[in-house]
């Protein structure tokens, strides 16, 4: 089996994008200049991905500040609440406030403005929040209960994913940090997996796309046995926090496996030979339908140069894997 590689999340901004963005923020520059620079940098990062031999192109998401932003800004009746930390990162998001009424109007989810956030260049991978993470990090107090809320959220995501496939995307990543994080803090509730499953039964299978539940920011080891039965096409594992021994005890025969072995939040560069050897061992034991090596999350946390280095590292690991 071959080893695929790709990036799976936001990329760090360049010096020039920061400078132009800061000038615009201070009233000393224009929004048009920011947009132009985003297009330039996006094309550059996509080109670098092609040169690295990625299996799928991933938009660096320079115009999006946080995972939920498209929902907050473009879905009717959803609004931005208080500013909150994005897990254990010095990065912030706005807590979505999702009222039950937001979902009574079926036309709002087809807004083309939503997809514009992704379209500075041609990409294959679309990053969406998993229904469980969106539920857990939002204010959904207007719903009767969480089951009701996740069903509505999952339909919303399904429609968006379908729209993205029509726009040319072939791979949908449902980002799922909340589950791994709760698992790591021993705060998982018995109903958490049920809620996730309920959501994925609605949005987990999208005609024309491969769907990945991408877990990160925590040790998901104890839940791998459950993850392999979820109704998605593949699972992403944050291997910087999950022990490989906990992963290789399970068969992924029906699933693609996305190995987040490269630490996106550390500037230390992993050994590509070791990455290849670990990937090989996982492939042998888990027997996935397809195997991909990625950073554990987006590389935005350490900047543009760092992202390029990690991309080169993925390419080197792929070469080492092929040579084994």
């Amino acid at each position: 089996m071959s080893l695929g590689i790709y990036l799976a999340g936001p990329f760090g901004q360049s010096r020039e994008l920061y400078r132009i963005r800061n000038e615009a923020k201070r009233g000393r520059g224009s929004a048009q200049a920011v947009d132009q620079r985003i297009k330039t940098d996006t094309n550059l990062v996509l080109q670098k991905q092609k040169e690295a031999g990625v299996s799928f192109l991933c938009d660096p998401l320079f115009s999006q500040y946080y995972l939920f932003q498209p929902f907050v800004e473009h879905i009717h009746n959803v609004s931005a609440g208080s500013q909150e930390n994005w897990f254990n990162n010095n990065v912030f998001f706005r807590k979505p406030q999702i009222p039950a009424s937001a979902y009574r109007n079926t036309s709002l989810v087809t807004s083309s403005s939503f997809t514009r956030n992704y379209h500075h260049g041609k990409s294959d991978v679309a990053i969406l929040p998993s229904p469980f993470t969106l539920l857990m990090l939002s204010d959904c107090s207007g719903f009767g209960n969480r089951e009701e809320a996740i069903i509505k959220i999952a339909w919303l995501l399904r429609n968006e994913a379908t729209l993205l496939v029509q726009e040319g995307y072939s791979r949908i990543h449902y980002d799922e940090p909340a589950l791994a994080y709760r698992q790591s803090l021993a705060s998982l509730k018995p109903t958490d997996l049920d809620l996730l499953k309920e959501g994925l039964e609605i949005c987990g299978q999208i005609p024309g796309a491969t769907t990945i539940l991408h877990t990160y920011f925590g040790d998901i080891g104890p839940l791998v046995a459950d993850l392999v039965h979820l109704p998605v096409d593949g699972i992403g594992i944050d291997c910087t926090e999950t022990r490989i021994d906990d992963l290789i005890a399970h068969s992924f025969a029906d699933k693609e496996l996305v190995l987040g072995l490269v630490d996106a939040r550390s500037t230390a560069l992993e050994d590509p030979v070791e990455l290849a050897a670990t990937s090989h061992a996982v492939e042998q034991r888990c027997q996935p339908k397809a195997l991909y090596l990625t950073p554990n999350t987006g590389t935005e946390y350490r900047g543009f140069t760092h992202g390029l280095r990690k991309l080169e590292l993925l390419a080197e690991a792929k070469r080492c894997y092929g040579g084994q």
């Binding site: 760090g12 901004q13 009233g27 857990m136």
Partner: protein
């Protein structure tokens, strides 16, 4: 001199740099708006900006850079301006709006031996960014850095101010969280093989304690020796790692160890209200903060952002029989989004928020009043408006 006895007011830390200063340093011509900003704020602060304005116009007109001495003169003026501005706005405790610092983290990180800069700025919230560093060796203050880091700044503020000063310093935990801890992770990797969670905890603790001893405490000691009466340690990242809060406390205690005759406070903000565990917000700090050195008796809290005062403050009442902290109540939201929307609190909202805090804490003597956080991301005009609203609202609260 403090004339009020109740609901004393202060700024948390930073103000935006003057646009005219930034443009002149980049050799750009000043716009009429830049000049008006300088003149308006100077008038409010009771200073004449004419000489400095002439200086600031020159690079844009001539294409010639300001000399180092001229830049120093501009920075000195900017710092003096902000001290006087805060006094003119009737804040009870003042400082210089961190006008001499590039940015809170970077200001210190650049003087740490053992830290190397990352090439680009990292996005944090919206378009806001910071310059992160990588710890590659045991962190220590660079030789002879104390003057440029804090002592000159404090000395100038002492000279400029008639009101008492509150000096903001970074806490070591924040520096650790905002840095890539490569050195201690590598150093301890062989001790915690196959245990990523234990490794991260141990490595962060080592970094925080090294920063406390080698970087922050020398500044604290120098400030105390120079006559500082109130030092604020900024800990905005306090609740980022829910299992690491004991490290935060240990680091803060290490910063103040061996000092006396000075008041210490800690600024906390954005406290993981969406925590994904059973506790959230400032609850997450407890019971750990009960172990803080008794000299640390005051917390400055961001509260307006969420506007859930009763919920956020309840935990301080809950633990009041064990330990009572003064609370600097954040009464105005400082986020950029509010500025973009043109939304500002009214004095009546501020009054009501103070009243809520008093009601929950049960003792009006514990309540101070402040913005949610530093104001550097906002326009200067908005920052001044927030001061005015804060002071007017506090005056309403004092009248009862």
């Amino acid at each position: 001199m403090v004339v009020n006895s109740l609901f004393l007011t202060y700024e948390v830390g930073s103000l935006p740099k003057l646009n005219a200063r930034m443009k002149a340093f980049q050799k750009k011509p000043l716009s009429p708006e830049d000049e008006e900003e300088l003149q308006t704020v100077s008038a409010r602060a009771g200073l004449s900006p004419q000489d400095i304005l002439e200086l600031l116009r020159r690079p844009g007109k001539t294409g010639r850079r300001l000399t180092a001495e001229e830049k120093t003169a501009v920075i000195n003026f900017n710092a003096l301006l902000y001290v006087r501005l805060q006094e003119a706005c009737c804040l009870d405790f003042v400082y210089d709006g961190e006008a001499r610092r590039s940015e809170m983290y970077r200001h210190v990180a650049k003087d740490i031996a053992g830290f190397e800069d990352l090439p680009e700025m990292i996005r944090s919230r919206g378009p806001d960014s910071w310059r992160s560093s990588v710890c590659v060796a045991e962190p220590k203050l660079k030789e002879d850095s104390l003057a440029g880091l804090i002592l000159d700044e404090f000395s100038q503020a002492q000279t400029s101010a008639t009101q008492p000063l509150k000096v903001p310093l970074d806490d070591p935990y924040m520096i650790a969280v905002m840095s890539d801890n490569r050195y201690f992770l590598e150093k301890l990797r062989s001790v915690h093989v196959g245990e990523p969670k234990k490794l991260r905890y141990a490595a962060k603790r080592e970094l925080v304690l090294a920063l406390a001893r080698n970087v922050i405490r020398p500044q604290v000691e120098a400030l105390v020796a120079s006559g500082a009466a109130w030092i604020q340690l900024d800990a905005p990242a306090a609740t980022l790692d829910l299992e690491h809060i004991p490290i935060l406390v240990e680091g803060l205690n290490e910063c103040v160890a061996g000092t006396s005759g000075v008041k210490f406070s800690v600024h906390f903000c954005y406290p993981r209200r969406v925590s994904l565990i059973d506790k959230s917000g400032y609850e997450l700090l407890f019971p750990h903060v009960l172990n803080l050195d008794p000299k640390i008796d005051h917390f400055s809290l961001e509260l307006a952002n969420a506007d859930t005062y009763a919920l956020d403050l309840a935990v301080f009442r809950q633990y009041a029989d064990q330990r009572r902290f003064e609370i600097g109540v954040g009464v105005v939201d400082i986020t950029l989004e509010k500025q973009l929307k043109g939304e500002t609190e009214t004095p009546e909202i501020v009054r009501r928020r103070i009243a809520q805090a008093v009601s929950v804490l049960g003792d009006e003597k514990l309540v101070y009043v402040a913005p949610d956080c530093g104001l550097r991301q906002l326009s200067l005009e908005r920052a001044v408006r927030l001061y005015d609203v804060l002071v007017e609202g506090t005056e309403l609260a004092r009248r009862g």
